[in-house]
């Protein structure tokens, strides 16, 4: 009996000295070191800020900014708009260029990605050249190229490039017609909503009919026609309640219409083309990840190529494509911060740049900016995790 008791005591002593305790000690040491470092840094910062007479805290957001960013989608007034409003403006500019960039990059990326897999030798090689060249030139150089290299060769206002008589491209930007919504315009968005609902209903009906009788119906084409056609019909039927304000050259500038800043255009082009090259690779490897046997089995069953792609290849390819695709979307959003090089007023440029310079409150400005990007990144990660769980292939 005493031997067993001895063994037990020895075991308890070794346990105390080994795994568990050691782990606790290490973690405690790390935590204390980190705490000490934080205290040190905070103390230094407080001292340095006091020395320079810089305030702390977030009151500066209520102060008037005193400068006018060149591009604003939110109402902004030089005299009264606050730093907080500058933050909002920067955030909106970032989100807008990122969102539109994501759409363009996805479209172009999918086209080039599929071109990479084409049976046509020339198309395949052209797509490969595009991807290899664009991916190996720094994005900053590409932005500078589109802005200084291309847009600067555009003519001055008086000699604008003219497209279809409505679109004018010159050094000051892209001038295009602006819609003026008159009374009764509501019928067009209403028709759009009706069109979408009708398309969904038709699709559901067609599917049920196919289940029941086996007959097929071109639900996708009809649905598309509804979504596009109904608003057009509504527009004609209501006597075109949308008029267009056309840009007209008066003196040294255009009156009427609306204009898009050249910085915006350049940044958008660069971001889209750059990210599309990466998306193309993702699409290509996603489609190639689906084993060739899947295509063969579908063909052997008599499925036509379009059906094979839609029912067999695409669902499997998307599983592989979506996670890295969302990564690229995040990259594009982060890369929009490079607009600062051409003075596009995005969040980093106006807030972590100008406001920080003017108020001296570096810590707050940089921290807020980083926090915004972190939130966007966490949202995208969360979506990706949800998507992965949702469509994971069931295995034993």
């Amino acid at each position: 009996m005493s031997a067993v008791g001895e063994v037990r005591t020895v075991a308890r002593q070794s346990l105390w000295r080994n795994e568990f305790a050691r782990g606790v000690i290490i973690q405690a040491a790390v935590a204390i070191a980190l705490l000490a470092l934080t205290v040190f840094l905070v103390h230094n910062t407080a001292v340095n800020l006091a020395k320079r007479g810089i305030a702390s805290g977030f009151h500066f957001l209520e102060n008037v900014a005193g400068f006018q960013p060149t591009f604003s989608l939110v109402p902004f007034d030089l005299a009264t708009s606050t730093n907080g409003r500058v933050f909002l403006l920067g955030l909106v500019n970032t989100l807008v260029v990122s969102a539109i960039g994501i759409v363009f990059a996805t479209l172009l990326g999918f086209i080039v990605g599929i071109a990479r897999l084409s049976h046509n030798y020339l198309i395949r090689k052209l797509a490969a050249v595009y991807v290899d060249v664009i991916r190996n030139i720094p994005l900053l150089a590409q932005i500078i190229f589109w802005y200084f290299g291309v847009l600067s060769t555009l003519p001055n206002v008086r000699q604008s490039l003219n497209f279809l008589g409505f679109f004018f491209l010159n050094q000051r930007g892209l001038f295009m017609p602006a819609p003026i919504f008159e009374a009764g315009f509501w019928i067009i968005p209403a028709a759009l909503v009706v069109g979408i609902i009708a398309a969904i209903v038709v699709y559901g009906w067609a599917r049920r009919r196919q289940m029941l009788t086996g007959q097929q119906f071109p639900a996708l084409s009809v649905g598309f026609a509804l979504i596009v056609g109904l608003p057009v019909l509504a527009d004609l039927g209501a006597g075109s309640p949308v008029t267009w304000s056309l840009p007209e050259l008066k003196g040294f500038n255009f009156q009427g219409g609306m204009s898009v800043l050249p910085e915006f255009v350049a940044l958008l082009l660069a971001l889209s083309i750059y990210t599309a090259a990466f998306i193309a690779e993702i699409v290509r490897s996603g489609v190639q990840a689906v084993s060739h046997g899947q295509t063969e089995a579908a063909r052997a069953l008599g499925l036509r190529p379009t059906l094979t792609t839609r029912l067999v290849i695409l669902p499997q390819a998307l599983r592989v494509i979506v996670p890295p695709l969302t990564s690229q979307y995040l990259n594009l959003t982060k890369n929009s911060s490079l607009g600062v090089i051409i003075a596009y007023p995005d969040l980093v440029s106006v807030f972590a740049g100008t406001v920080q310079n003017q108020t001296g409150q570096a810590v707050e400005c940089v921290a807020i900016t980083m926090a915004v990007y972190l939130v966007i990144s966490l949202l995208i990660s969360a979506f990706m995790n949800w998507y992965n769980k949702h469509i994971a292939l069931v295995e034993r």
Binding site: L34, I137, P138, F148, V340, A352, V366, S377
Partner: protein, 371 residues
């Protein structure tokens, strides 16, 4: 039927060549370019694109370009690219404001570096351990002494460093010094100790969630506030620290991928032999994991090399910045496209060769490694 039981030798049918329309140039053209109407349309479209892009580009870059030497944009009499400007500013583009008589120091630094990396990565070169020790532990001091000065060499302040040399210094310092940190973070992420794991994950996700620009801003504007009174950090050093922290998070993810590919049996075998945590990782796990992770580490390096262009924004004039300011110089107004073309080619050559190399490595590694 009664058959001869002795078997007869079989007279084989001779190989015949395939029909003419199937092989050779005609067959290849038919299959790849003109096999159907849509395909033919695509081919014509592709040929049109080539026609619109290639001849004007070649014309601008080579045939109508200015290759002669000169001192200002007026010397560029031809229509095409003004390579004259590149010739005139070549020293500055490569070395920044590094004094001309000291440029040999930069050259020696990078020759040593490429030699060390080649020794480490190329098959068949012996003494890999010594190359690694040299590259990671000795070379950094040698390089710093050569580039900065002291101990017999005249000091050249970092404010004079610029051009392509600066991109290379930033990228290689970034990778070399972020590797150890990245490995620690990757191990920390897999640690059983919750605080270590939490800190590692937090650092990695935080850094990967923010743009490099914000990290550079933080390094150049916020770091000085963190310093006790009187301590003045060299501006370039702040930027380097920012780059190291940024790169470490991405390296950590690359190493994590390598660690995940190591089967559990390796850990168990090492533990069964009595190796403790650090010996197990140092002798068994990491050597294998790092080998697997090398292609993705090379990819991170390519990305970092391209990202070094961002330091323009915090006032360091590297190659792209130098080229841009050259094109703004009153002597060379209007040569921005030439400048950009030159910079793009330099980056393209570096990055494309590195990525081809990394693909080659990946192929080699995966044929030898059972998946």
């Amino acid at each position: 039927m009664a058959e001869i039981t002795a078997s007869t030798p079989h007279v084989a049918l001779p190989d015949q060549p395939p029909p003419a329309s199937e092989v050779g140039v005609v067959g290849w053209l038919r299959r790849n370019l003109f096999s159907s109407i849509p395909n033919t349309v695509l081919t014509l479209f592709a040929l049109y694109l080539l026609y619109v892009i290639v001849p004007p580009l070649l014309n601008w870059a080579i045939f109508s370009a200015n290759w002669q030497s000169g001192t200002s944009v007026k010397d560029c009499v031809w229509d095409g690219a003004c390579w004259t400007m590149i010739r005139a500013r070549f020293g500055i583009l490569m070395y920044g404001f590094y004094p001309a008589e000291a440029r040999w120091r930069v050259d020696v630094t990078f020759v040593l570096q490429f030699a060390a990396i080649a020794g480490l990565l190329i098959e068949g070169v012996p003494f890999k351990k010594y190359w690694a020790i040299f590259l990671f532990f000795i070379y950094p001091f040698v390089a710093f002494w050569l580039l900065y000065g002291g101990l017999g060499l005249p000091v050249i302040e970092t404010a004079s460093w610029g051009g392509l040399m600066l991109n290379l210094v930033l990228a290689t310092t970034g990778i070399v010094l972020s590797l150890p940190l990245g490995i620690l973070l990757a191990l920390g992420r897999r640690s059983k100790l919750p605080i270590i794991r939490l800190l590692s994950v937090a650092f990695i996700e935080f850094v990967r969630g923010v743009p490099l620009i914000t990290v550079l801003f933080m390094a150049s504007v916020v770091f000085p506030l963190f310093m006790p009174e009187g301590v003045n950090f060299n501006k370039l050093l702040r930027v380097v620290i920012g780059i190291i922290l940024f790169s470490a998070a991405y390296i950590a993810e690359n190493v994590r991928g390598g660690l995940q590919a190591i089967p559990k049996g390796q850990y168990e075998g090492a533990m069964a032999l009595g190796l403790n945590y650090w010996k197990m990782n140092g002798l068994v796990v990491l050597p294998q994991a790092l080998r697997i992770a090398i292609p993705s580490i090379v990819n991170s390096f390519i990305g970092l090399f391209m990202d070094t262009t961002l330091v323009i924004i915090v006032g360091q004039i590297e190659l792209l910045g130098m080229a841009q300011s050259s094109a703004r110089d009153p002597n060379w107004l209007g040569t921005i496209n030439t400048a950009l073309a030159f910079v793009s080619m330099v980056f393209f050559i570096f990055c494309f060769s590195m990525s081809r190399y990394s693909q080659y490595l990946e192929r080699k590694l995966y044929t030898g490694h059972k998946r």
